[in-house]
């Protein structure tokens, strides 16, 4: 989950609660669902937060939530905005994949070093923030160029003189133009940035497939390559007082909501937000859109979910303490009591009225609720398959086998090569394996097609432990179902333990056992196999067969009720030596459904 670094001093400052000690703050934050993970070198709190409340990604957002939590603020707050003076012109040439843009002008910003750093810092788990939305927000750029900027930049002129100003969002060829990106001193094309600039390399995957790259121009020229990096010409410093915030994206709603979150945060720092006109070829939008939305929530749903009877006044109070406004409707004329709830634009997490019921619950305090055992009668029971598994397991334990539990994931090497089996052999374990895409570890690249390799590995890792080592496992084995994704078994019997679905993977439970002891012989394995068959009242035959893992002449098919379901035999010395074993091992493996 994403982690956000927050300075506790700043939090005290922004909430106006100087008296709160660190421990107390941590407790209050836990109540909001922000878990304290530790401190940074600079003493900032590292807070892990659930990725739904993106508005809490900044210290200002966390402070706002705390003020509601403390009851210092109530109800919805919407920042005032001044009329638009600037325009973003959207060109026909914008990349098809990223056609949308939004923006705002923010004046009177006071960015100290901390705030600036916080704003530059990206969420360290960038996937996490993209959970609900993709905040492709770049750091905002100042309206006035920094000290390194060109003095003749027309944007030096204060905006309020009323001169219309405009930037242009378009798309260009990867090497279509040059600019000096942040943290660099040389002119680069967007393609150069992706190849040679550290930030570019990190975010290259966001635009890697694009034919044209997103580009933003002002009247001097190219100055930003969203969503990868801004130009150096418009770098934000602690001296920057007036910012132009722009975001591009794949969905207008999403970037507008992200912009709201940024505007709320800058407003909390005393800045003034000014609108921007976004001119698409076919329509014009005025942004940011900080207007609230309305959702109705039924009183009875609140009561049934939280399990408490509420007075309507209390519910309205709880809504207000959550930063929402609510009005009752329909109570007097005998209709269902419903609340019209006004939701501010930074609440990107509200997808359903239920999300607002959750707010009421949090404000009320879930931990203050009395647990009760639900008055609902049902009859419990085990699944037939897991019942059979247990019965077979108990039987093998009774025969003296140590019951094991191994991983279902393994590698071709362990599953095939080291057992001297090839996938296209005609033998138990030989099958087309279900393989993992882009595996990270060469030890886990596929699902095991049989379980004996796992048992041999356990023997290999325990040669320093006393013998005899009699091991058994009942577990999953699987392979790609080549008969057109339909369930089937090699014994021809229909079965609950085979692939249930059309996933293309035939899954089965397999019963595997080995005996590693100084005097182990075929008969020891066969004797135990017979005992199992007898106890499950099935007919066992063991006609001779060949299997690359076992010694010829000491290997048999396990045939149960006429169907071949497995193999029993003495493990070949070559396989034993391969596993560093210095004593004989005998064993068997068969499909569990043969015992049904």
């Amino acid at each position: 989950m994403p982690v956000v670094d927050v300075d506790p001093e700043e939090l005290r400052d922004l909430t106006g609660h100087d008296e709160k000690g660190n421990e107390e703050l941590k407790e209050d934050l836990f109540g909001l669902g922000l878990e304290f993970e530790g401190r940074t070198e600079d003493g900032e709190f590292q807070l892990e937060f659930a990725p739904d409340r993106l508005d809490r990604l900044s210290v200002e957002g966390v402070a706002r939530s705390l003020r509601y939590h403390y009851g210092d603020d109530r109800g919805v707050y919407v920042p005032n905005t001044n009329d638009a003076d600037w325009t973003i012109e959207v060109d026909e040439g914008v990349p098809d994949e990223r056609p949308y843009v939004t923006g705002a002008v923010v004046r009177g910003v006071d960015l100290d070093e901390d705030a600036l750093r916080a704003r530059r810092a990206r969420c360290d788990d960038r996937g996490g923030c993209r959970g609900v939305l993709r905040p492709d927000a770049r750091p905002p750029r100042p309206l006035d160029p920094g000290e390194d900027g060109e003095g003749s930049d027309p944007r030096d002129t204060p905006v309020h003189e009323g001169r219309g100003k405009s930037i242009r969002y378009t798309g260009i060829a990867p090497d279509g133009d040059r600019f000096v990106p942040l943290d660099s001193n040389s002119e680069m094309t967007p393609a150069d940035v992706l190849a040679d600039h550290p930030t570019g390399e990190t975010y290259a995957d966001l635009v890697g497939e694009y034919e044209r790259y997103p580009a933003i121009y002002d009247d001097i020229g190219l100055f930003s390559f969203p969503p990868v990096i801004n130009g150096k010409r418009t770098e934000v410093t602690t001296d920057s007082r007036e910012l132009f915030v722009e975001m591009t994206g794949t969905d207008q709603w999403t970037i507008d909501r992200m912009l709201s979150i940024v505007c709320y945060a800058l407003d909390a720092r005393g800045a003034t937000v000014e609108e921007v006109a976004v001119e698409y070829p076919d329509r014009e939008l005025v942004r940011p859109d900080l207007s609230t939305s309305e959702t109705s929530v039924a009183h009875e749903r609140i009561e049934s979910i939280i399990g408490v009877d509420f007075d309507p006044e209390e519910v309205v109070d709880l809504f207000e303490r959550s930063g929402l406004n609510a009005e009752t409707e329909g109570a007097e004329d005998g209709n269902r009591l419903v609340y019209d709830v006004e939701v501010p634009s930074y609440r990107v997490d509200v997808l359903h009225p239920l999300d607002l019921v959750d707010d009421v619950g949090r404000a009320y305090g879930f931990n203050d609720l009395d647990p009760r055992y639900p008055d609902v009668g049902t009859v419990g029971g085990r699944h037939e398959r897991s019942g059979l598994e247990d019965a077979v397991r108990n039987q093998l334990v009774g025969l003296g086998f140590e019951n094991l539990l191994n991983f279902h994931m393994t590698s071709e090497e362990e599953n095939f090569d080291r057992m001297h089996v090839a996938p296209d052999d005609d033998a138990l374990g030989a099958a087309d394996p279900a393989t993992i895409r882009e595996p990270y570890s060469e030890d886990y690249t596929m699902l095991r097609t049989w379980a004996l390799p796992s048992l041999l590995m356990v023997l290999e890792n325990n040669t320093h432990r006393p013998y005899p080592q009699d091991l058994a496992e009942i577990g999953l084995a699987a392979h790609v179902n080549d008969s057109g994704n339909t369930a089937g078994t090699s014994s021809g019997k229909p079965s609950s333990a085979t692939a249930h679905e059309n996933t293309g993977v035939a899954e089965r439970r397999t019963v595997a056992a080995v005996l590693a002891r100084h005097d182990a012989s075929y008969e020891d394995a066969k004797a135990r196999l017979q005992a199992v068959a007898r106890n499950f009242d099935v007919d066992l035959e063991t006609p001779p067969t060949e299997h690359p893992t076992f010694v010829d002449g000491r290997t048999a098919d396990v045939v149960v009720d006429g169907g071949t379901v497995g193999v029993v035999g003495e493990v070949h010395p070559a396989v034993l030596v391969e596993h560093d074993l210095e004593l004989p091992v005998v064993g068997f493996e068969f499909r569990m459904d043969a015992l049904e």
Binding site: G127, S304, H352, Y373, V379, G381, N403, R437, L447, G504
Partner: protein, 502 residues
């Protein structure tokens, strides 16, 4: 005096003037050492011999220690390389000396940490000097190692301590018992001892012949340890799983079952996980290359799930504003949670439409692309449970889980409001650790969202929770490294000796 045969032999062999070790008595009497020990203790009980115990220490080389016999100690090698490089005259860049010394890997650290300690020279800001007066030939640690290798004893305790700290030698202690005749023993011998007619093993022949009536049974040392024996035992994780299953069945839950490799549709999409959710990338879960796609998904359900993702559910519902394609939904993954089973059951695809009330559970394996460490495995068991009924509240959820965790000694449950894409309200569950008293996370829970339930055709409430079985096991048994238990690195000794918890 009549004594069993072995006692007679020991008594007659023992000397009143010289303490003889058990091993020597065994040699001379031709008895097994354990028989001699048993006989000696019996005789001591009768006051005929005295048994003395002494502790003997033996020192042996570890594998690492043995390597240094041939190669020389790393610090000595470093010193010699430093001399070669002229470090006795002026400081030399360290990387070069290490390169020349041929030291690699851990040996470099070993050399560096012992170099200055032994006064071979100093190491400062990446440069090394060598003390020309140091004499590696008189290094006491090297001398002790080679003495031990030659089978000699080393008496220098300080050096041995140092070598033991460096894991180059191992010390072990053994008890040596010796036997001396007492005055009573001498008297008894003078008066004469006879071998009693005793019987060891009771044989079928002894019983059928009736001979058993005339013999004396030899006394065994019934206090002695018997030879080790390990019977079979159900794997402790299975035991824990079965305990959970019993508890849940007792609470009215029925067990679910279903595919491990399943379509993302069942694993993620039905759960209202947006298709660009970070947990859906291959950084978090295993996608299959072969087979890559499910044949077919239920078309009507796909339609309803797609609508929920795009437009939300209900009048004031809001969708995700991110792309949704059936192609992604058809991809096959190893399930990252068993909630895919819950989806199959709730949708009616597993065993037909369900009518409330219902309770279902599973304790089954899930797969996550995590880093293997003492508390994380790539595959682990998830306990999953849900209750379907009209008008369930958060209090019912709290009551159910409080009841469940109490069965495992976990009390003082706290509910931290949380976010999951598929439940609202959601809670992380924290409980008090049964032994340490710490507050630890024990699960994740919530009420399924309407965006999950309505497409599945469920019109009532469903509350659900999940928990890792391994976590419960570690809380119950106090294990610190889960890899000792689950998987092919399992230690048989641990599995064989772990206390049975019931």
């Amino acid at each position: 005096m009549q004594l069993p045969e072995s006692q007679v032999a020991v008594l007659e062999t023992a000397s009143a003037t010289e303490a003889q070790a058990i091993a020597r008595l065994a040699d001379e009497t031709g008895l097994a050492p354990e028989s001699v020990t048993g006989a000696a203790f019996e005789l001591a009980d009768r006051g005929l011999v005295a048994v003395e115990e002494a502790t003997e220490e033996s020192v042996s080389l570890t594998d690492e220690g043995a390597t240094y016999i041939d190669e020389g100690l790393p610090e000595v090698r470093l010193y010699e390389a430093a001399l070669d490089a002229g470090a006795d005259a002026a400081a030399v860049e360290m990387g070069r000396v290490i390169g020349q010394s041929g030291l690699e890997g851990a040996a470099v650290d070993i050399a560096l940490s012992n170099y200055a300690r032994k006064g071979y020279g100093s190491i400062e800001s990446g440069e090394i000097t060598a003390d020309p007066n140091a004499d590696p030939d008189s290094d006491p640690e090297a001398a002790a190692l080679s003495a031990l290798a030659d089978g000699e004893t080393v008496d220098d305790a300080d050096t041995l301590d140092q070598l033991e700290r460096r894991d180059l030698v191992e010390r072990s202690e053994s008890t040596v018992r010796s036997v001396t005749l007492t005055d009573d023993g001498v008297t008894a011998l003078m008066e004469g001892v006879e071998t009693a007619e005793t019987v060891g093993q009771i044989t079928p022949e002894l019983l059928t012949s009736g001979e058993w009536e005339d013999v004396e049974f030899a006394e065994y040392n019934v206090e002695a340890d018997a030879a080790g024996l390990t019977g079979g035992k159900e794997h402790i994780l299975r035991q824990t799983a079965n305990r959970v299953k019993d508890t849940l069945v007792g609470m009215g839950f029925s067990e679910m079952e279903g595919p491990h490799a399943d379509a993302e549709f069942w694993i993620n999409d039905c759960l209202f996980m947006p298709q660009d959710h970070p947990a859906r990338t291959h950084w978090d879960q295993f996608a299959l290359e072969n087979p890559a796609e499910i044949d077919e998904l239920p078309a009507d359900l796909v339609e309803r799930v797609r609508d929920a993702h795009r437009d939300g559910v209900g009048e004031d519902g809001e969708g995700y504003h991110s792309p949704w394609t059936e192609e992604v939904a058809k991809g096959i993954d190893l399930r990252g949670h068993t909630t895919s089973l819950s989806m199959r059951y709730l949708s009616g695809h597993a065993q037909g439409d369900l009518e409330p009330p219902e309770r279902f559970f599973s304790v089954e394996k899930v797969y996550r692309n995590d880093t293997l460490d003492p508390t994380h495995l790539l595959e682990f068991f998830q306990i999953e449970g849900w209750v379907m009924a009209e008008d369930l509240s958060v209090r019912d959820l709290m009551g159910t889980f409080t009841e469940f965790y109490e069965q495992f000694g976990i009390t003082g449950l706290e509910f931290k409001p949380h976010y999951n894409p598929y439940t609202e309200p959601s809670f992380e569950l924290f409980g008090t650790h049964p032994t340490t008293g710490e507050l630890v996370e024990v699960g994740n829970s919530g009420m399924f969202r309407e965006e999950v339930l309505r497409p599945l055709g469920v019109d009532c409430d469903v509350m659900a929770w999940g928990l890792s079985l391994e976590r419960l096991l570690m809380l119950m048994y106090g294990f610190e490294d889960i890899r000792d238990v689950h998987g092919t690195l399992a230690d048989l000794e641990l599995l064989r000796t772990t206390e049975v918890i019931h």
